[in-house]
Symmetry: C2
C-alpha cells in the first residue's frame, strides 16, 4: 500500500514535469502578394504556414530560422497539443535549455512553397494543388517551377513582416541545408551563423539522377494524368512507391537490417505466387501508403525539381557564391550518408577553409545514414550549443 502510494506520487510528479516541459506550439499563416519566382512567373499571392518557439527580444536580434527537409514541414519542435504522439523533428535540440535554447532564442520555422504534406491539417503551402485564381481550379503543372532561392525569398518576406532584419543563425537538415546555405550566400550581412546538416552545396549528376528515381513512379501512375487529378482519383499508388524510394534512400543498410530482425528470406507465399509480395515489402508499402495519404504527388514532383536545380547562389559560379558568405559555418554531414554523401560536405569544408572563412565540420555517426541528421542530432547537443554561444 505504502509502495503503491509512492508509485502514484512519482507518476504525478513525472506527468507534471512532462507537461511543464511540453513546448506547445501554434501554427500560423503568412500571406504575401505578388511573388515573382526565379523562373520568372508572378504569383498574385503566396501563403505559407509557420510556427515559432521562444520569444523575440526587443532588439529582434535573437532569431534563429529553421529550414525544413524534403518531406518535412515547419514542425521542428514542440507539439500542437499534449496528445500528439510525437513532437517536431528536431525537438531533441530545440527547446528550453536545449542546444537551440528557446529561453534565449526566438526560433522560427515555416513551411516551404510546394510543401509535400498538403493534406496534413497543420501544413499551409502554395503549389500545384492550390487554386489558380485565373481558372478557379488547381494549378496542376501550370504552377511555375520554384527553386530553393524562392523558398528563401518567401522566408525573407515572412521575417521582414515580423521586423527581423538579422538572423542570429539559420539551421537546416538536407533540403533544409540548401535553404540555410542559400540564405548565407544571398544575404551575407543578415546571417551570423549557419548550421548545415546532412546537406550539400550543389547538385551533382548522380544526385540529380537519384532524385529523378523518386519522380518516376508518380508519372507512371495512370491517375497522375499529367498532373490533372484534382477532380478525380489521386495517384496514390505512384506516390506510395515514391515514398518507398525516399525512405530507403535516406537509410543505411546496417540500421535497416537491424530494424527488421524477424526478416526471413524464404518467404513461402512470395515463392508460391508472383502476385504476392514478400512480407517485408508489404509492411513497407503499408507504411509508405500512410505517409502518401497526407501528401500531394505534384508537390513532390516540384520539390524534386527544386532540389535538382540547387546550387548555392543559383548561378554557374559556385566558388563566387561561397566567397560571399560572412556567417560562421558549422557543417554536420553524416558519415554514413548514402544520399547526400559526406564527401561533398568535406569538399565544401576545404573550399571554405581555403577562402579563410570561419568554418568547422563535425560528422554525425549514428548508423542511420542520411537520417542521422534527424535521429542522431542529439549527439551534437553540446557542440551545437557551444557554436551558438560563440
Amino acid at each position: 500500500m505504502k509502495r503503491q502510494l509512492f508509485r502514484v506520487f512519482w507518476l504525478v510528479i513525472l506527468s507534471f514535469t512532462a507537461q511543464a516541459q511540453t513546448l506547445l506550439v501554434e501554427k500560423q499563416r503568412f500571406e504575401t502578394k505578388a511573388f515573382t519566382t526565379e523562373s520568372g512567373v508572378t504569383l498574385p499571392a503566396v501563403v505559407v504556414g509557420y510556427e515559432s518557439y521562444g520569444t523575440l527580444n526587443e532588439k529582434k536580434d535573437n532569431a534563429i530560422l529553421i529550414t525544413h527537409f524534403f518531406s518535412g514541414t515547419s514542425h521542428a519542435a514542440g507539439k500542437y497539443s499534449e496528445s500528439d504522439p510525437l513532437p517536431g523533428y528536431w525537438d531533441t535540440i530545440i527547446g528550453p535549455g536545449k542546444a537551440i535554447d528557446t529561453n534565449k532564442f526566438f526560433v522560427i520555422s515555416s513551411d516551404t512553397l510546394v510543401n509535400a504534406n498538403v493534406y496534413d491539417p497543420h501544413v499551409i503551402t502554395t503549389g500545384p494543388a492550390s487554386l489558380n485564381p485565373k481558372t478557379g481550379k488547381a494549378y496542376g503543372l501550370d504552377f511555375p517551377v520554384v527553386t530553393i532561392g524562392d523558398f528563401v525569398e518567401v522566408q525573407k518576406r515572412l521575417l521582414d513582416s515580423l521586423g527581423i532584419d538579422k538572423l542570429y543563425a539559420v539551421a537546416g537538415a538536407s533540403m533544409g541545408s540548401f535553404q540555410a546555405l542559400e540564405w548565407a550566400v544571398r544575404y551575407p550581412d543578415k546571417v551570423e551563423r549557419l548550421v548545415h546538416v546532412i546537406g550539400a552545396a550543389t547538385m551533382d549528376a548522380w544526385t540529380v539522377a537519384a532524385l529523378e528515381k523518386w519522380a518516376l513512379p508518380i508519372r507512371l501512375d495512370p491517375n497522375w494524368n499529367q498532373g490533372n487529378y484534382y477532380e478525380g482519383e489521386k495517384p496514390i499508388a505512384g506516390l506510395t512507391a515514391t515514398m518507398l524510394n525516399i525512405t530507403q534512400d535516406a537509410m543505411h543498410p546496417t540500421i535497416y537490417n537491424a530494424s527488421f530482425k524477424d526478416f526471413e528470406v524464404l518467404d513461402e507465399p512470395a515463392m508460391k505466387d508472383i502476385r504476392v509480395l514478400p512480407k517485408i515489402n508489404q509492411v513497407l508499402a503499408q507504411r509508405a501508403a500512410a505517409r502518401a495519404r497526407l501528401q500531394d504527388a505534384n508537390h513532390v514532383l516540384y520539390l524534386i525539381r527544386a532540389s535538382q536545380l540547387f546550387t548555392a547562389g543559383m548561378n554557374q559560379d559556385l566558388e563566387g557564391a561561397l566567397a560571399r558568405i560572412q556567417a560562421k559555418v558549422l557543417l554536420m554531414p553524416s558519415s554514413g550518408d548514402l544520399l547526400l554523401r559526406p564527401e561533398g560536405v568535406r569538399s565544401l569544408y576545404d573550399t571554405l577553409k581555403r577562402m579563410n572563412k570561419s568554418v568547422s565540420i563535425s560528422e554525425i555517426n549514428g548508423g542511420w545514414g542520411h537520417l542521422d541528421g534527424l535521429f542522431s542530432i542529439g549527439s551534437k547537443q553540446a557542440e551545437l550549443a557551444a557554436f551558438l554561444a560563440e
Copy 2:
C-alpha cells in the same frame, strides 16, 4: 608510295591478327522436358540458350561454368560475328591466354530461365513471355515463381546432356555469384573451384527492399495490366524506369559524376517548365529505353523475385548450407559496391574461414561500384589465373 605500301602491309597484318584473336561464338539451344520448379510446378518443357569457348577434353574435366548477372545473358566472351561492336561482358578474362584460358578450358555459359533480354535475337529462355501450351498464349503471371536453385538445376541438366559430371570451376558476377555459390552448396562433389564476384550469400532486408524498387515502375505502368500485355502495348515506360534504377544502383557516384563532365545544375529549360526533364535525365532515359526495348517486363519481375528469395542452400540454415562446400573459394567483392555491399562478402569470408574452408578474398577497387565486377575484373587477371592453376 613506299610508305603507303608499308601502311597497307601493316593494315593487312593487323586485321589478320585481329581476326585471329576474335573468339567467334555460336549460340546454341538446350531443351529439357518435365522441369519441376522449386515452387512445385512442373513445366512440360524448358528451353535455354548457351554458348561455349574452348574445347572439352576427353576426360571432360576441364569445364568452367559461367553464370550470368541480373540483366546479362550467356554472352560472357567473344563475338557472334566480326562486326559486333562489343564482345561478351567478361571477354577481358575469358579467351586464349587469358585468366580463364580457352586454350586449356572448356568454358560454358547459359541463359537463365526468365532471362530479361527476351527480344535480343541471341537470347533463348523460358519464362512468362513463353507460350503456355495449355492456353496457346503467353504464360504471363501464371508462370511459376522460379529461384536461383532452379537456374542451377537447368544448368545441371545442360551439363549432364554434354556428359560433364564435374566442374573445374564455376564463376559468376552479382546474380551470377548466387548461382555459382548455389552450385557449390548443392553439388559439393561436382564443383572444384568457386569464383564469387560482387555477390552475396543471402539476401538481407535492405536488399530485398532495394530490389522491389526496381519492380515498382513496371507494376505502375498501365500497359503492364497485371502482366497481360502480350497482345497489346508493352509496358515500355515502366520498364525504362526500372532500367534507370538498375543502372544507377549498380554505379558509384564518383564514376557517375566523372562520366558526366559537361553536367550543369542550372538547366534552363527544366527551370522554365516542370514538364521538361533536366537534360541529364533525358539522356539517361533514352539510354534506358534502348535497353528496355530488348527486354520483357514480366521477366524482369521474375528475376527480381528470384533474387529476393535467394539464400545459399535455399533453406533457413545458411551456416549448414555453407558447411557443405568442398570447392576452393575465391571471393571478389567490389570495395565501392553500393548494391551488394562488400561487408556481406567479408562476413561470408569470415564464416568460411571459421569452417576451415579453403577460401581467399580479393577486393576489386575500380571506382565503378557494383559494376567493377564487370568493368574492372581485368585488374584481377593474374590472381584469377593463379587461382585456376592451383
